[in-house]
Amino acid sequence: MAAAASMMPIFGHQISSKIDLVPDWSREEVSTGTTIMAVEYDGGVVIGADSRTTTGAYIANRVTDKLTRIHDRIYCCRSGSAADTQAIAEVVSYQLGFHSVELDEPPLVETAANLFRASCYRYREELMAGILVAGWDRRKGGQLYCVPIGGMLVRQPVAVGGSGSTYIYGFMDSNYKPGLNKDQCLELTASALSLAMERDGSSGGVIRLASISEDGVERRVILGDQLPRFSTH
């Protein structure tokens, strides 16, 4: 393609064969884009995501639910290929449900995270999936585990993921402190997701939030007109 382009004059200028002047993403098909975030607090964990699924420039679903239930008090936030993450989540739900029946007690968040990691690592060449596993269990309380593309597993107090996450690393680094309570975590997550949705073309729609604790799972939605707004310039 570079050779053909360099032979074709437009407006009297030779088109450059230096296609590296144009960023890669503009030449590739993007299957999904996302911003997901999760924050641990004392007694539980808050998770959040935007609601846009794209195929190229078309928004296939503008009200997607990317917060997927794996067990009663374990959820995952999905980013990457929609098909891949749905398939993995289904497999892990099944495995975890079976394991829980065998144990005759609620499963650990760390177990769920390890099941995700096992699938993501084994099939790392085929899959494109970045997942945040978050939940509450009796042993360690609220926990968040990050399973990024490639199949690494690491526990973090706060994590972001998806294409929109790059824009909010600075905001997250400066605004997160250990010891936040549930409402502060919800506010932090909503603000961060809103900022990312403003800047990332592949993230948008509504903000879906959930908080998971011993008492159960509370879900809420922040609609477009209620999104946190920042001074525009």
Partner: protein, 217 residues
């Protein structure tokens, strides 16, 4: 990472950078990190100054290929000083930005650099202009650029307020650059800031150990 490797094959040293300019009440702050790297693997300079003076109260910041940036700013400087002599008055900030824009647009095939121009002039006060890679010129209140800028879009959108005081703006710029340097491996070193007002120009350097630290450091 791929892009940086390509940069080094085509253009040699690339700045891999974070640059920022922001207007406050009465002036403008322009700043950058100080790292120059080859392909993201080797830091060729820890203390390079990316804030370049093109006239008494007009500075610009470069992102992209270092060689291109230096060549273009040299040409722009001489253009501007000639223009200033012809006009018999200091050049407008928009004039400086336009000179850079012309050079970038006319040579867009060969060049691989983007510019940010900030300054103060008598007619319009403090201003910030950005010239993107292809030669587009935009006037903005606050702008960020370079590879490290992607990590601080959220922070800048949330924290920048128009009409801050000088101290607030310097703190904002230092924090933003420190956050970007914390996440981008091709940005780092010290923070160079230049504060431009009607009264004059002040250089502020924040060395590594005085940079703000965030919770996980």
């Amino acid at each position: 990472m791929e892009k940086h490797y390509t940069d080094s094959k085509v253009k040699g040293v690339s700045t891999g950078t974070t640059i920022l300019a922001a207007i406050f009440d009465g002036g403008v702050v322009i700043g950058s990190d100080s790292r120059a790297s080859i392909g993201g693997d080797y830091v060729s300079s820890k203390t390079i100054n990316k804030v370049i003076q093109v006239h008494d109260r007009i500075f610009c910041c470069i992102a992209g290929s270092l060689a291109d940036a230096q060549a273009v700013t040299k040409a722009a400087k001489s253009h501007l000083s000639f223009h200033s002599v012809q006009m018999e008055s200091p050049p407008l900030v928009v004039a400086a930005a336009s000179v850079l824009k012309d050079l970038c647009y006319k040579n867009k095939e060969e060049l691989q650099a983007g510019f940010m121009t900030a300054g103060w002039d008598r007619k319009n006060g403090p201003q910030v202009y950005v010239v993107a890679l292809g030669g587009m010129l935009l006037n903005q209140q606050v702008t960020i650029g370079g590879s490290g800028s992607t990590y601080i879009y959220g922070y800048v959108d949330a924290k920048y307020k128009p009409n801050m005081t000088r101290e607030e703006c310097v703190q904002f710029a230092t924090n933003a650059l420190a956050l970007a340097m914390g996440r981008d491996n091709v940005s780092g070193g010290v923070v160079h800031l230049v504060v431009i007002t009607e009264k004059g120009v002040e250089h502020v350097v924040v060395p590594g150990d005085k940079l703000p630290q965030f919770h996980d450091e």
